[in-house]
């Protein structure tokens, strides 16, 4: 079967090409590009990527405007049907604003834009996005964000931890995130949002290839399904 992955582009997205190319390198199949103003997604998608960047100039709140754009209604419906949805950085912000993931991403506690490669720990290797890793495995993945400070109330945090929905955690203090959360899954496990950029770490030439297994996991889970 042929893998069908799509990446959404919003006005102000700037990692959409990185994500599309990353997916393409790993899957060997061209990535379908979708514009935010479209109301329908291409049929039979196996993967929807929400890229990093500054959608709508970060107006109002990061990701808030993009979350209300026409295509997101289709993404929400697809996520409800179980289609894997993966949001990176601004994409993570969009997914929380759209209500597909709990919590919110606030201004970094240090107020500065953080742009460096950070160590992460894989907290759950049972998800369709992380099955190619070992639980506890340490990764080096770049971050580049101003609003990555994950916030949720204590009850939500406890539930995320208890249900194994914290996918990745920072090993160092990066942005003030509650419990150093770097990436979380939705209840069904088919939506992942994370601030670090695995699409920027898929080949050794990029400084790290630790992000590659995330895409391999998603593609393999589909082929095995």
């Amino acid at each position: 079967m042929t893998f069908r992955g799509a990446v959404i582009t919003f006005p102000g997205s700037n990692c959409d090409r990185d994500l599309a190319v990353g997916l393409e390198k790993v899957s060997g199949v061209p990535t379908i590009r979708v514009w935010h103003g479209d109301t329908d997604l291409p049929e039979k998608l196996d993967f929807i990527g929400i890229p990093g960047g500054f959608s709508y100039g970060d107006y109002l709140r990061s990701g808030a405007m993009a979350a209300k754009s026409p295509i997101m209604q289709a993404v929400i419906a697809a996520a409800g049907r179980g289609v894997p949805v993966f949001g990176v950085c601004n994409g993570f912000q969009v997914l929380t604003e759209a209500g597909l993931l709990p919590g919110a991403l606030m201004r970094n506690a240090g107020l500065e834009f953080v742009c460096r490669t950070v160590p992460l720990r894989v907290e759950n290797s049972q998800s369709l996005f992380t099955s190619g890793y070992e639980t506890g495995q340490e990764l080096r993945i770049p971050v580049a964000h101003h609003d990555g400070n994950y916030f949720a109330d204590e009850a939500t945090l406890d539930r995320l931890e208890g249900e194994g929905r914290v996918a990745f955690r920072y090993l160092d203090e990066v942005n003030g995130s509650q419990r150093r959360i770097a990436g979380i899954l939705n209840e069904a496990g088919n939506v992942l949002g994370m601030m670090p950029h695995p699409e920027r770490a898929i080949e050794d030439e990029l400084g790290s290839s630790d992000g590659r297994a995330l895409f391999e996991s998603a593609i393999r889970s589909l082929v095995e399904a």
Binding site: L60, R61, A64, K68, T96, E97, P102, G103, A104, M106, R107, N108, A109, G110, L111, N149, F151, A152, D153, G176
Partner: protein
């Protein structure tokens, strides 16, 4: 009619920007400021068909993020 919507962080949500402003005020020599919380003010020009319920919905759906923010709606008499 003008409607003024004040969006502020919920109590208990850390406000790094407010803290930085507080530091800056202290740096300028202003004393006696206990705490600073930064928010956002949004003004809407609306006609008489816009109900309080509609304004409430606007806040909940877009203008405020209910996970971290509270809002207050105020109609301003012209």
């Amino acid at each position: 009619m003008k409607v003024r919507i004040a969006v502020s962080l919920k109590p208990g949500v850390l406000d790094p920007q407010g803290r930085a402003i507080h530091h800056a005020l202290e740096g300028l020599g202003f004393s006696g400021v206990g705490d600073v919380r930064a928010g956002r003010l949004i003004e809407l020009e609306v006609d008489e068909t816009v109900t309080d319920a509609a304004l409430d919905e606007m806040c909940k759906k877009l203008l405020a993020n209910m996970v971290i923010e509270n809002y207050r709606v105020e109609r301003i008499a012209q």
